[in-house]
Amino acid sequence: MKDFSIVGQSVPRNDGRAKATGTAVYTDDIKLPGMLHGKILRSPFPHARILHIDTTRAAALPGVKCVIVGEDTPKIKYGNWRLFPDTQDEYPLAIDKVRFIGDEVAAVAAVDADTAEEALGLIKVDYEELPGVFDIDSSIKEGAPVLHDYCPSNISVNRKIHYGDIDKAFAESDYVREDIFTVHAVSPAYLEPCAAVAQCDLDGRITLWTSTQVPYIIQCLLASTMNMRENDIRVIKPFVGGGFGGKMELRTWEFCAAFIAKKTGRPVKFTLTREEEFLAGRRRHGMKLYSKVGFKKDGTLTGKDLKIYLDGGGYNAMGPTATFLCGTFGAMLYRYPNYRFLGQHVYTNKPPASAMRGFGAPQSLFATETQMNIAAEELGIDPIELRIKNAQVTGDKIPDVATISSCGFIEALQKAAEMSGWKEKRRSPKPGQGIGIGCYSFISGGVFNWFNTQYPFSAAEVRVFTDGTAHLLTMAADIGQGCDTVLKQILAEELGLKMEDIRITSADTAVTPQADLGAWGSRLTMMNGNAVVQAAKKIKAKLFGAVSAKQNLNVIHELDCKDGKVFPKGRPERGISFGDAVALVQKANRGEPIVERGYYTPRDKGLVTPAFSFGAQIAEVDVDPDTGFVKVKKFWTAHDCGTVINQMAVEGQLEGSIQMGLGYALSEQFVMQGGKTLNPNFLDYKMPNAMDVPPSEVAHIHTYEPEGPMGAKEAGEGLAIPTAPAIAAAVHHATGYRCKDLPITPEKILAGKRQ
């Protein structure tokens, strides 16, 4: 462990006071003079052709200022996978067809929200209903209704990974296990519903305030769908009330706000209702997974053959990435000498699935981890021992998939076992009680440039001032996960300043340096952190040069910044204040301010990620034998995120993940019938509340990731993975019911428990 001043501390959030006092401004809190209020008309049918839309009555309603339908727009498709334009399958407003209940058909802007809502009821749409497909199996059947003409098979993405000789591996195995798993869709359920406010200036340029994880992606895709230049669009991310993957694409209301603002010359605001979020919002992919693994008698893995179908809903959204990543994660955690993966993304007439915390990994690793637990039982080996035997370690390489430059997986397994009293509880459980394990690995940002950005993946600008302060500018989006604070900490550490010495401006595409791909895939600490470090090092080089010259230091001296001072390491008493050092540089350059930029783009790191996190989680449950209700008594988690930059923030991320994993495992689901969501509210979408979340204990496994800033890598997203398999294993231990189709419900337990 390196010796840090601020890195590693539990520094309270940068924006804590603003949020605690209610002064933090979220998008829906913005009110501009003359602002119109927009509402979206959505399809009531899961699959239908639009024959005709009559907006005359709506447009004539007093107070209505603008009504638009797909035909009024430039009709340009969008999607985040710009590198492969044929994956871009969505129009901001439906053109010919609607493909799910809630698909966006028209938009209205009026002087107030009531009027806009009333106007929606006056738009007459003639539909020709088409037969729909609502699950993977019926969608890929011969002769199934086709959602998109370009894709007659309904399979929009194929992804293959193959290394070794899988057939030979199974032939030489002592034990081969084959299972089919199904996992369900769940909602990101961020507390802040999506919202966007757009304003158009006299030159026709657009400013968009939006609740997004990806300001830069919104800027680019809004420009392309509006047929405008990127630089004529400014995207500002106000405070964002959570995203979890659900806010990482351009969405209809962002386009409509901008388009109508341009058309009417008045600012326009769209805010979604919770009902819209649940009926039509993005969600985690439901999947069907065919997994076959082989072992030697002693538990050594021989290979894995994995086929995954993703239930994509009506459009691709971030489905291609999920298809890509669920195959990647199928090869992670353990050493599979032979591996074959086929992933297929399938269209269905349901709301599009997309990115959500874990991004393909919770599904894929639910299968892996459950199968590992089954195999352990059948091979007669302790589940943790079996994992340790096959665990990936630092230095492991997987062709086309991963280079593991730091890995605390085995240590995490050992620590989790120790903390939980695994051996004893596993051997002699109390009646109705059980204990089980699940593990995870996750990426620290993506390498594969599907967005086809022409800029560095991350960028940071640092300005320093003669008063000893600094200003950090970055496009990185803090959506609650805390990157503003963490990036400030990294800069403070590097420059030897205090947190309060640093001002941060973030996520405004017109003033922060190009570019940043956004807050997803646990990329910001790694990627933007590295950009900040690079900018800070450039600043330091300037300061050190000036201080060396001024003090006439021998060239062998190394300098450092700490506690607001710049000093030769060997002669700390000769240090001068940071501000004075800045002044020296400025004087030498006729007042020119010190501004430096740092960039980061992962190179030579394979196609997936610069670094992987690892961890293990153990759950202990109590199952009511009569009702089948599961009460999780406790979680023990040991995780390796490399250097912990902010302990409190890391813990918060982990605890939040646990809540989400708990809901995924036990209570959250969309109840759907014929493409219609029957539980579009928090009453019946059962997200765990404060009474449901059990106590948990977390241990940090210390590793140092050479690629990361100060040794840091991913934290908090990967932990969305292990909770469901850990609970499933504990429920099996308690009852004999082995869950292969999430969620684990009381009904399934009662039906499947040992008699």
Binding site: S10, P12, R13, D15, G16, R17, A18, K19, A20, T21, G22, T23, A24, V25, Y26, D28, D29, K31, P188, A189, Y190, L191, E192, P193, F239, V240, G241, G242, F244, T273, R274, E275, I479, G480, Q481, G482, M648, A649, E651, G652, Q653, L654, E655, G656, S657, I658, Q659, M660, N681, F682, L683, M687, N689, A690, M691, V693, P695, S696
Partner: protein
């Protein structure tokens, strides 16, 4: 028809004209610009819109503004004693890491106040029960529960200081 009423919010009287169907949430956010009050679901399930009315926490999304005449309303904006000093609940939320995205925070703090003003030393169960109407997707509640416990201690100490 619109009716002119006076709302007492955070100790200040506001004269507003409201329709019968306007909720307290809409009037606070849109007419009085107290946007610290959030709107998360509109069905009383998420708690983001929680405000205090006559000392009790209620969902402002399910409260008609027209019924609020003559009541004392307190929003998150009225919790801190001054612009520079935080209320112990706010202080604890910041210090303990109980805030991430912050969207649930104002409602969560109101729910905490609803509990702590009568019971500054609640049990873990009482805290969880008191917060069960406030959903949070970021924190997993653990640090929020801790913060509420600490805030209660601070409030108790402050009131003991006052009386001694």
């Amino acid at each position: 028809m619109k009716q002119v009423i006076v709302l007492n919010v955070n100790g200040e009287p506001y004269t507003v004209a409201v329709y019968p169907w306007q909720t307290l949430n809409e009037v606070l956010r849109e007419e009085i610009n107290l946007t610290g009050v959030k709107f998360g679901c509109g069905s009383g399930d998420c708690g983001a819109c929680t405000v205090m009315v006559d000392g009790r926490a209620v969902s402002s999304c399910l409260t008609l503004a027209i019924e609020m005449q003559g009541k004392e309303i307190m929003t998150i904006e009225g919790l801190a004693p001054s612009g520079e000093t935080l209320h112990p609940i706010q202080e604890s939320f910041v210090e303990k890491g109980a805030i991430q995205c912050g969207f649930c925070t104002p409602g969560m703090e109101m729910a905490a106040l609803n509990l702590l003003k009568n019971n500054p030393t609640p049990s873990d169960y009482e805290i969880r029960e008191a917060l069960a109407g406030n959903l949070c997707r970021c924190t997993g509640y653990k640090k929020i529960i801790e913060a509420v416990g600490v805030a209660g201690q601070k409030m108790k100490e402050a009131s003991e200081r006052k009386t001694s």
